[in-house]
Structures are given as C-alpha cells and as structure tokens.
Symmetry: C2
Subunit: 497 residues, 2 copies
C-alpha cells in the first residue's frame, strides 16, 4: 500500500470515529434541549456506550500501526503529516488510560455530578465533599498516568491548552494581578454607570426574536446551525455544517440573553469556519479551549460591548423593546460595562472576572500538589474571595459550589477563560491594525473585515498549530497581557472618567 | 459460567446494541425535525456508520456462540428462553446478509430516494424507473438470501409481519374485497355528509395547542415523550421512557392535525407501555408492524372517529376553534367519516383505504414474482385504480409515485396497514365485550378501561408472541375480517341512512 493509500485509510478510520463522537454530541445536545425527564436514565447509558465505542475505535492497535507507519512517510503533504503527527500524539495519550481507569472516572463523575446537584440544593459543601475528594484522588492518579515534568497540575492544564504549565500561568497571573487591582481601585472611586433601565420586563418572545436577529446580523449561518433554549447556554458542533448554539432568557434582564447570544455566536462562527473537508482530522478541529474562548469573547466583549457596536445595535433593540426608546448608546455602553466585584463568575464584568479564575486556579493547583485538602476548600475559597475581591461569601452555593466543572471532572479548565480574554484582545488589536476603519464599519454593522481576518488567520488552520504557535504566526508575537490591559483601560477610561 | 450468568452477558450485549440503534434513532428524529439544511450530507454518513456498527455488534460470532449455548439452557425462565430464541432467529437472519449486499442495498436506497424526490418534482415516473428497477432486482436477490417456501414475496412480507404469506393475504384480500365493494356501492347512492366547515382557516398556534391537549387527554405521557413538527408525522422511540411523536399543521384543515395526533399518539402509547426493564430485548420491543398499526388505528379510528369520542372532544375543540361553535357532534362525526374514492392513500377514508393497500400489494407481488416489470408500473397502477376505485389517475405524482416506501426499499410493508385496521377492530370489539359501558366512558373522556386492557393484553408482552399468537390469546380467535366489517358497516349505517 502506498503512503497515499495508507493516509486514505487513516482518514476513513478517523471519519468513523468522528461519526460516533458527533453522534454522541447530538445525544448530548438533545439532552440539554428537548429530552423528556423520564428519558434521562437510559440516555446516560446510551451516551456512555457511544463514548466507549469511540474510545475502542481510537485505541485500536491497527490505527496505531497505521499511524506509526505514516509518521515517517514523506510522500504525503506537510498538512497530512501534521494530521498524522497530532493524531499519533492523541493515540499514544489515549492508550495510557486503562479501561478500568476510564470506567472508574466515568462512575466517579456521574456520582459527583449528582452529589453536586444535591449539595447545591441543600447549600452544603459537605454533601459534595466525599465524591469531590474521590474525583480529586482520581485526577491526581491521572496526572501520574499522563506524566509531567515539573508540576502535576501541568498534566491537566495541558489537556485543555496544549503547552500550558503552572510555571507560565503563575507568572501570567502574577503580572496581571497588580494592574487589574490598580485599575479596579481607580474605578471604585468613580461614579458607577446607571443600570436600572436594564432591569425592566422584557418579553420572552421579543427577546427570542431579537436574539435570532442579532445572531444573523453578526454572520452566524442558520442554514448550517440553529439556536434553541437550554438551562445553560452552550455551543456544540456535529460538523462544520451543523453547529448549534443555545441561549436562556431572563425576562427581567435582557442583557443576559443578548450578550450570551454574541458569546455563543462567536463560538459558533469559529466552528462553522473550520474546514469541513477536514472532518474528523486535527486540521478540522478547533485549536484549543483558550482559542475557542477567544472567539466567543471577541464577539461578546471586544465587539459586542464596544460603543460602536452598541450604536449599531441599539436601534435594532429599540424595535423589539420600546421600553429602551429613551436610552442612549452612551448610557447602554456604560451599563453593560459596569464594574462590580461580586460572588458569581458568570455574572461578573470583564475586569473582576479574572480574579474568579485566579482563585479557582490557585485552589486546583494546591489540590493537585496536595497542599490543600478537599474538605478545606470552602474556608480557603472564602478567604481568597475576601482577599482578591473584597467580598464576603455568604454560603457555599454562591461560593465554591457555583460551577459545574469539578463535578464533570474538569480540573485545569478555568485558566483558558482568562487566556481567551487575552487572545481576544491581542487578535482584535491586530485586526484593527490591518483595518483602520474598523470602528466605523462595526458602527454600521459591517463585520466583513473581521470575518475575513478570522477565517484567514484562525478558522482555516483548525488544530494545525498550538495556540502559542498560532498567536505568534498571526499577531507577530506571543501572548502579551498588555493588549488586554490596554483594551479594558481604554474602555473604562471612557466610562469612568 | 452458569446459564444465569450467560444470560446476563447476553443482556449486556443487547443493551450495547440497543444503545447504538436508539442513538441512531435520535439522529433520525433530529434529521426530520431540527437538522439545519447544510448538515444533511454528513448526518447521512453519521447514521450509516451507526447502522454499520450496530450490524457488526449484532453479527459478532461471540454473540452467536452465547445464543447457541443459551438456546438449550433450562435454568433460565420461560420468558428468558423466549428472548434467547427470538434473538437467535434475528441473529441467524442477519448473518445471511453479506457486507457487500448491505452496502449495495444502502447505496441503492440512497440513490433511489433522491431519484424519487426528483421524479415527484418533475412528475415523471421515468426519472425514478432505473433506480427503482435496481432496487427491485436487489429485493429479489434478498428474497433468495432470506429464503421462502412458496412465494418469493413471502420472504419480504415476513420481515414486517412474521408469518404473513401471499397465500394468506391473497385469501384475506379476496374475502375483504367483495363486502367492501358492496358497502361502497350502497354508500355511493346515499347523500354525502357536509364537510365544508372543516375547510375554514384554523390558526396554527391554536391547532398546536389543541393537539397537545388532545394527546394529554388520551393519556400520552409528556414526561416520557414530546411532540414536534415534521414534514411527515411519525412516532419514534429511544426507550419506553422517551417516545416521541410528530405532527404537521394545515391551516385550512384542522382534521389532518387532529386525527394525525390521535394516530401517532396511539403508536406512542404502545411504545410507552412496553416493558422498560426489557430494554434491548425482544420482550421490550413491539410485536409486529401490523400490531403497531392496530394501536394507531384503534385510537385514530375506532375511538377517535366514534360519535362518543367526538361528543367528548367537540367542546374542547370549540374552545380552541370558535368557528366550530355551531357545528354539532353528529355533523362532525359525519364529516370526518365521509367516504370518497380518491387517489391518495393517506387522505382516504377507512373504507376505500384498503383498496389502495390491495393495489400496491398486487403490484409488489407481481414485481417479486417477475410477472410485472418496473417500467410497466404506471400503466398497471392506473388500470387498477380505475378498476378498484373508479378513479382516473391524472399523473404519476398522484399515482404510483405518491408514497416514499419503495424509495426506502420497503417492499412488503403495505399489507400491515390493512392488518392494523383489522386487528384494531377485533381488539376494540373485545375491549367492548369486557367493558360494557365503554361508549359512555369514552363519551366522558374516560379511557382507563382501554388503557388497562391494552397494557394487560398487548403492551406488556412486547415481541414475546407473534401477532397471530397474540390475537388468539387475547381475543380467543385468529384475525377475522368480520369485526372490521361490522365496525365500519355499523358506523356507515348511521351516517349514510
């Protein structure tokens, strides 16, 4: 068999694996949107079976042999070589997990999820403590399975953001902390923007229709996607021609739905822009979670919370919500950018958001190195919230129980949220450099330069480059904090004169 | 390993297969309801992969060995022995199909489906002829693969209704034809009921809400199911706790949606009533297509088109549709039971419906025995419509191209529609015998005796008995035409005095 034929065989195998994985994603999407309640139990089993089958297909020794043979082939293109190399990495990593470990982890997360739900209901961390600790122990075991050079947490960070380490993130967060604190201090002495008008009654149907319109206006393709309602907004993809977003509607706060649409829309545009002919291959997959998040934050924040965008969007909003007819663009711009230290990450502003991330990063790092015990999380959590954000955590539900991630077994995920903000600011700065009239274009609802830049510099590459390589390639330098600091400082200087 | 342990292993294997099959059903449901148009191509591939995996799992020799060992085990219950025996039958049948044949059939149906769509668009049978003929040849090959004793068509009939043969159906249709013709003749001399009031404007939203209410009133469990909109109404199940129905809405004819809800609701009640703890096993599956259809027709026709039901439902309808406020139950009863020979099966009444079935049965039988060539279908089709129904077929679209089944490779399916009507009438007769005040109960919207009877006599057995065995067991005799003839004669005697 020629190298080309072997490569085709590899592609066929990857298609088959992708088919099973994406089928599972359809089941998950359905679970979050339309599943009748009594169907939940067997749906869980169906999804577990598909995961198992995908894992079996992906760890099939025949695939390993093929990959190893192809890894030295020179008769295939550079791009094809890259796909082989990345898949071989994935293959070798997946082979490290024993079936026993995979089942143990799956059972532990299932138990932990239900314990977390109950703990939130009862507002009591101890209800979650035992199951969380089991997960932490398994995660520590996983760091050994995966291996690491310096810090055990590195092994988990690397799962979400290839190459990320404690050493790098410690430094990044250290650098970020001081200027953020300083900016927050300046802001807290100024008059806060008025936000009362955001909290009127906003009709559900009108919000739904407005959400669809705003998604359409930003370029999301409804022929290759759709929006539905779910408890927690998310984006999922079954291939680049079927990318779905969800939203939720709060009738007393229309900003929640609007900027969530922009956020998920940004994720959706990325997935719709991935090369569909690389279905199932690394070059058809997203780069990293940090880069994915950069896409949502670019649309939600850099664009969506800019004065220009609000100037463009306000007349559209006013068509749907006459109660906003007396609000000016300037007022809305201030209101949706108000800075306010608070308890809940997902409701926080672009500045204090990163303290939430740093706190969880700190807690997870210590759990993994063994310097913090699971049972001591609440006390330490509350201490850090006082220290970083000056807020007193009144209960666990609004404290260390607020996020679902741990109950899913996701440790090492949160830093990608901050990385997303930093990448977004650096990308958006670069786009502006290459398109000097960008603000005017955004003000008139013309996003074509942005689409073109993202397609050319981000979407088309899939997972061909790491986030670090991509950043260097398309912005000319590695990730720098200063673009984000410049971006929020400029913005808050206008709002908080 | 003990027989009990082996049985448990068998159950585990069947669960895994069911998980994959039902996952595929979720993808199919999504395809018919919510799939964005550009997602269709890769969705087709994803579904083909899941089908292939299910086939591989089900034809795994290890399953065969286990089944053969279990087939002589005496230490498992009678019910368990039955599950093993039925699965072994399925296994042996599936093993007959070579991978090559399965792929050929899958490709041929895919091509035929698109050709059928185009043929309908262009209203031209020749556009479909070549692909249809390929399918017919493959189906003839399939009759050889499956094997038969007397008539090749028997092999295909048996796929949908175990034990059904040309010999039996020829006799059944022969017997049915004369009294149906006679009844039709009597009716055609009488004054037809007024139907004009059915064809007003009926608001879409009101129809949607009414459909949900009528489904709830008949006992469909929305905690274990849901209704959505699709081009063609259907019922699908992902397990007995997640059974979904769909409907479509015609704003100029509310009867279409209403009785389609009752029809699909009847299918849905059956699936919701199957034993959920027999998930993936024959005892957890529906008996046959004829019995499935009996459940939809029992609710749509025997109950839904009865004067008693209409007395109960009319006030509910009038709440949603004030334009019906002057219509009497008697008038509506007449209107939804009007007999009218026509071209389209799905729009036909309970009497002439069976001529549509007989015509297609006749055509398929001759195709399989080789006494009719595909290219000669339209001429023969039109001849039969003239002969049986006295109507002139104006074009292929409203003639032999009207139904999707052939393009799916479904030959031998149609007789189950007539069998469904006959079983429904015989079951309903038996229910009435055991519950003398049934008409009054239905008139007050009380379906509890019907639910109880169906649960006890049909649902709980799953596929444990064949339709013939089931019919004998629960009605005391084999399928008899006279219950259906009595049922429609009684009804039409009232309407066509």
């Amino acid at each position: 068999m020629s190298a080309k034929e072997k490569y085709n065989e590899f592609v066929q195998k990857m298609h088959r694996i992708a088919d099973v994985r994406y089928a599972n994603a359809v089941l998950q999407w359905d679970q979050e949107t339309y599943l009748p309640p009594k169907g939940a139990a067997l749906r869980g089993q169906q999804m577990a079976t598909l995961s198992e089958i995908a894992h079996e297909l992906f760890t099939d020794p025949a695939l390993g042999t093929l990959l190893n043979e192809l890894s030295t082939a020179k008769e295939i293109t550079k791009q094809e070589q890259k796909n082989v190399a990345l898949t071989l990495e994935d293959y070798n990593k997946n082979k490290k997990y024993s079936t026993v470990f995979v089942r143990k982890m799956s059972e532990a997360t299932s138990k932990a999820y239900h314990a977390w739900i109950n703990a939130r209901k009862q507002d009591s961390f101890p209800v979650f403590a035992k199951e969380l600790d089991e997960l932490v122990q398994l995660k520590k075991e996983e760091t050994q399975i995966l291996g690491y050079t310096k810090h055990p947490y590195d092994a988990l960070l690397n799962e979400y953001e290839k190459g990320a380490t404690v050493e790098w993130l410690d430094q990044l967060f250290d650098e970020l902390q001081a200027p953020l604190k300083a900016l927050l201090g300046r802001i807290e002495n100024k008059k806060a923007p008025e936000t009362g008008f955001l909290h009127q009654h906003f009709d559900k149907d009108a919000q739904w229709k407005f959400g669809l319109e705003i998604l359409k206006l930003t370029g999301y393709d409804f022929e290759a996607g759709r929006q539905d309602i779910s408890e927690h907004p998310f984006t999922t993809s079954f291939n680049a021609r079927d990318v779905r977003v969800t939203t939720r509607i709060d009738e007393n706060d229309f900003t929640s739905m609007t900027w969530s649409c922009l956020h998920e829309g940004g994720h959706g545009l990325y997935e719709q822009g991935l090369p569909v002919d690389a279905y199932g291959l690394p070059s058809g997959e997203f780069c990293s979670l940090g880069i994915h998040e950069s896409q949502s934050r670019l649309w939600e924040n850099c664009i969506g919370r800019s004065l220009e965008f609000i100037r463009f969007a306000l007349p559209v909003m006013q068509r749907y919500f006459p109660q906003l007819s007396t609000v000016s663009a300037q007022q809305l711009f201030g209101a949706v950018n108000k800075v306010q230290p608070s308890l809940i990450r997902t409701e926080s502003d672009e500045l204090t958001y990163h303290f939430h991330v740093m706190i969880r990063y700190q807690v997870e790092k210590m759990l993994m190195e063994g310097s913090l015990l699971s049972k001591d999380i609440p006390a330490y959590w509350n201490e850090l919230y006082k220290k970083y954000l000056g807020v007193t955590v009144p209960n666990d539900k609004n404290g260390c129980l607020q996020d679902i991630h741990w109950s899913h077994g996701s440790f090492g995920y949160f830093p990608t949220y901050t990385l997303g903000s930093l990448y977004a600011a650096q990308f958006y700065h670069t786009i502006k450099q290459s398109s000097p009239a960008l603000n005017e274009a955004v003000g008139s609802g013309d996003f074509s330069d942005i689409h073109k830049w993202l397609q050319t510099h981000v979407y088309q590459y899939g997972r061909t480059f790491t986030s670090d390589e991509l950043c260097n390639k398309v912005t000319g330098e590695p990730l720098r904090m200063r673009y984000f600091m410049d971006y929020i400082t400029d913005k808050y200087d206008i709002i908080y004169r």
